[in-house]
Amino acid sequence: MKILLFGIAKDIVGNQSLDEAFQAKNVAELKQELIQKYPEFTKLSSLAVAVDEEYANDDTPISAQNEIAIIPPVSGG
């Protein structure tokens, strides 16, 4: 499963994207796995996930066919 990373999420992981095996079947499970592997994510004030370029809910299902991105707190403007 390929996961796109932006902003501080890139620094936490040390890469522009994650391409490793995740067991997660939905967004909540993905966040849990991510935090287990990279505990620094708990320090962020929020952690959103986008599935196919849309903000996703915790129960949104995910699979390798989706474009998944980690959205740390946004700071545009």
Partner: protein
């Protein structure tokens, strides 16, 4: 309503009147965000902006659609810059034109506030010396 929504390298505020003027519009309102030289008493040298471009454009489209539903607008613009930006450079520009001023004033405020809340764009601050930090707003 006509709209212009872009993620671009350089924002050119000098063309904004042409972008927003409309025969039926008696009012044009614009907000431009620029790089400030200080953050919490620290001297800022430059900012770097990164966007999840495809999603950012989609979110900007949604904000524009919501604004055009809520207010009577003739033209609308939303632009955000990416890359390295120096002090005083424009980094975000939003604006709208309408028959009377209330609609474009209120829409303009909504456009920038919602952009800052929802659009997946991130800014890194470069300070005097070697310090650099991703800006993560507090909850």
């Amino acid at each position: 309503m006509e709209k212009k929504i872009e993620i671009i390298e350089h924002i050119d505020p000098s063309v904004i009147y042409k972008d927003l003027s409309h025969p039926a519009s008696g009012g044009i309102c614009v907000f431009i965000g620029a790089v400030r030289d200080t953050t919490q008493n620290q001297k800022v040298n430059s900012l770097f902006f990164e966007a999840y471009e495809a999603m950012a454009l989609k979110e900007m489209e949604k904000i524009a659609a919501a604004a055009s539903k809520q207010w009577n607008l003739h033209r609308l613009i939303m632009q955000h810059a990416v890359g390295d930006k120096k002090v005083e450079e424009p980094v975000v520009l939003v604006g709208a034109s309408s028959a009377h001023r209330d609609d474009c004033f209120e829409a303009c405020r909504f456009l920038i506030d919602t952009l800052k809340e929802k659009v997946p764009i991130w800014k890194k601050e470069f300070f005097d010396g070697t310090d650099e930090v991703w800006v993560t707003p507090h909850p």
